[in-house]
């Protein structure tokens, strides 16, 4: 009975979403205040209904109600409770429900934080979000109802995919989804502004904190996914340029470009066209990501058994969103978007270079990801684009981005002099190259152009950011002790860029100096790798709550001294008859030691992978810095004050633009 209530709540939520999308937008067009005022209550009621549905599905998992087909397919009475809860979003139907729940949470957040916006504008924003929600609720109810019953109910469930029985899965999808869907807010802002014909600085200022917070979640989500793949797949890799990884990375690149372009639009009223396009682009790419993951059109390590009709539905949704918003853009842009002008040496220029390169990088990733699909659609054969393509194209495009960061953070708005920048940065420019070279010479036997380049660029970013911070403090006649007094949007920006540099260091060193060996080993055998000797002590049988495991104990020595003991398991989950590898990892600031069991071979031997991964943690540390930076920037007082005095701000901006 309670399950049917969940289904019913979803249907009601769809009705609410339709009300939320039709009345406010129509009301805004016709000046009907009553219709516009429906936006907020409809959005809040919709949220409550979806939350009820979500809670009911979760309840069905916790009490093992296997008469629900989705629960029966993805849970088991032996599954620990925490995984039963996370199993709610472990497969297609539930993750779509999570999608709509998060969308409604973002919408409710907009209803609370938009009280200072004009009624017309906020009605349009909430209306557009209602439209998106309508599309997804339809998809959910028509093709993937999580509350479908299954008669007769099976005695026990089919268990959750063992790969997903992990802490990473509990948090990775929700955080990634919050990031994906957050772009719907920025998208709705852009569409509302196009509809109303007011793309002013106030619009850009409004969009900025939302974009930054969204980007923070997306950064964390991608980093978590990378970390999860690293320890859970047992391949010792942290990024595979897999279509599904690319699907989350493309909105990130577009979002990063958007953040920088928005800054220029807000401060100087320039690049409005570009900013609006990026906002549309970021959200469309999020939808594309959903389509790629959920349609099963791609051969990917992430591909799960899927249903083609769902893919078609999402593709239609994608077509409507991209087609509709671009048509609106083409119709409204010529009249609403009047850009200012920019000077060659100015912060605007650096921001523009940055966002162009990021967008081009995004386009190359997009090309490599969907090219196989296009070729196949035209019947030209089946193919895939190999990993080396992405590395060969993407990495060189990030070099100018990294170089520009240092200048961009310091250059003045409007116009700056090349001489001034040169005076401040000449030592940092040469110093970072020399220092990068010295560090590589000291740390490693072999020097490679790529490593020196990567490390030098990172040092350049950190050095130039520190110079910008010092100059900023000097301006206020303060020393480093007054660091906390800097405006938080500025410190946030610095922190995020330093995080980017840390990630580059991690990527550079891990890709160039990692080593690995795949070996056939029996108990007592020893393997040498990167100055460590790995001795396989034993392989024992273990019993888990819902699996059996063979556990290898490996002791690692360096110069005959014990460094660590690593345990790696090969698990067998009988319900799904599925094997799973648990890697054994000893993590450290400068290196990870990593083992994972392969397959049992004859005579008690096993195939074993052993990896040495220097600086791999830095990749994720950097991401944490970037996320913290984004949080700091989004919490800046300016946005809150600006909101409170929106009226004055708009007038000031108007004056500034005239001047």
């Amino acid at each position: 009975m309670i399950v049917e209530l969940g289904h019913f709540a979803l249907i009601l939520a769809l009705c609410m979403a339709i009300i939320q999308s039709i009345f406010p937008v129509a009301g805004a067009a016709m000046g009907n205040v009553v219709w516009m005022s429906l936006a907020r209550p409809a959005a809040r009621v919709q949220f409550c209904l979806i939350a009820i549905a979500f809670a009911i599905l979760m309840y069905s998992f916790v009490v093992n109600d296997f008469s629900v087909a989705y629960v029966a397919a993805n849970s088991n009475s032996l599954l620990p409770v925490v995984y039963r809860i996370s199993a709610v979003w472990g497969a297609h139907e539930g993750s779509l429900l999570l999608w709509t729940l998060i969308l409604s949470i973002w919408t409710v957040a907009v209803t609370y934080f938009s009280r200072n916006l004009s009624d017309v504008f906020s009605a349009r924003v909430i209306g557009v979000m209602g439209l998106i929600s309508t599309g997804f609720l339809l998809l959910l109810l028509m093709t993937s109802n999580p509350f479908e019953r299954y008669f007769p109910a099976p005695m026990d469930g089919g268990d959750l995919n063992p790969l997903l029985q992990d802490f990473g899965l509990i948090i990775h999808p929700p955080i990634l989804y919050i990031g994906y869907i957050g772009f719907s807010v920025v998208f709705a802002f852009a569409i509302a502004a196009l509809l109303g014909g007011q793309l002013d600085s106030a619009w850009a200022r409004w969009s900025r904190p939302w974009t930054t917070i969204t980007w923070m979640f997306l950064t964390l989500g991608i980093a978590l996914g990378s970390w999860w793949a690293y320890y859970e797949l047992g391949w010792g890799g942290w990024w595979f340029w897999d279509p599904v990884e690319n699907a989350s990375f493309m909105p990130w690149l577009a979002g990063t470009a958007l953040i920088h372009s928005l800054a220029a639009t807000e401060k100087r009223g320039v690049f409005k066209n570009w900013t609006v396009l990026l906002a549309i682009c970021a959200f469309s790419l999020s939808l594309l990501g959903t389509f790629l993951v959920r349609s099963g059109v791609l051969t990917s390590v992430h591909a799960f058994a899927t249903d083609p009709t769902r893919g078609l539905f999402i593709l239609c949704l994608l077509g409507i969103v991209i087609g509709g918003s671009l048509a609106l853009y083409a119709w409204r842009a010529p009249t609403t978007l009047k850009g200012g002008s920019i000077k060659l040496v100015s912060r605007e220029t650096f921001l523009l270079i940055n966002s162009v390169f990021l967008t081009v990088a995004m386009a190359t990733v997009l090309l490599g990801t969907i090219y196989p699909l296009i070729i196949e659609a035209f019947g030209q054969g089946k193919l895939s684009v190999g990993e080396p393509y992405f590395n060969a194209v993407f990495v060189p495009l990030m070099v100018p981005v990294a170089v520009v960061i240092g200048f961009g953070a310091q250059a003045r708005w409007g116009e700056d002099s090349a001489g001034r920048l040169w005076r401040h940065f000449r030592f940092a420019l040469f110093g970072s190259v020399v220092l990068g070279f010295l560090m590589i010479v000291m740390l490693a036997e072999s020097t490679m152009f790529k490593t020196v380049l990567g490390v030098s660029l990172s040092i350049w970013i950190i050095w130039s950011i520190l110079i910008s911070m010092r100059l900023r403090l000097q301006q206020q006649q303060q020393g480093w002790y007054a660091l906390h007094k800097l405006p938080s949007r500025f410190s946030g920006m610095c922190l995020a860029h330093i995080g980017f540099a840390i990630t580059i260091i991690g990527i550079t060193i891990t890709s160039q100096y990692s080593s690995e060996v795949h070996k056939r080993m029996g108990p007592g055998d020893t393997v040498e790798l990167a100055g460590y000797s790995f001795k396989l002590e034993s392989i024992q049988q273990k019993q888990g709550p819902n699996y059996q495991a063979s556990e290898a104990l490996m002791r690692v020595y360096r110069n005959d001294k014990l460094v660590t003991s690593l345990y790696s398991q090969k698990r067998h989950y009988p319900v799904r008859d599925m094997p799973m590898t648990e890697a054994g990892i000893d993590s450290g600031l400068t290196r990870d030691l990593y083992i994972s069991l392969g397959e049992p071979l004859d005579g008690g031997d096993w195939s074993i992978r052993i990896y040495y991964r220097p600086f791999v943690r830095w990749i994720w540390f950097g991401a944490i810095f970037m996320a913290l930076g984004a949080l700091l920037a989004a919490l800046d007082k300016r946005y809150r004050i600006a909101v409170r005095h929106k009226e004055t701000a708009t007038i000031e901006d108007g004056l500034a633009e005239k001047a």
Partner: protein, 156 residues
Amino acid sequence: MFVMNPKRRKVLFTIIFIVMGMGLATALALKAFQENLLYFYSPMQIKNGEAPTNRAFRIGGLVVDGSVQRDQQSLVVSFDLTDTLYNVTVNYDGILPDLFSEGQGIVANGRLDEDGIFKATQVLAKHDENYMPPEVAQALADAGAQIPTDHLKAQK
């Protein structure tokens, strides 16, 4: 050029940046693209001599029951892949993915040697035991084979 009116100058610079970026990306992309496109060939196409011998490609099919042979000293393994009409022998030196088993649909990257044996550099794993790579499903359909019923069920 520097006396151009500001609006025109802005447009000019924007265009220059975009053209520069696009040009660089296109050059890099095309070069890398040509080197890294992996075409897919089914066992039937390989037997018909359609597959190239001078470059890497992808192969897919079902692992033939009882065909998996392991070397006793190393990690070298060989197995046959079938589209139910034709078989191709695959050699691989490395650790097979967790979900590799006889009867399972798999995809491998590598090259064809002179003896018609496929030297795999990578054997791809899936996250889901019911998952059938789309290429493999197509190869089986081309060979006129019935896709095993449990895979059909999983597609529902």
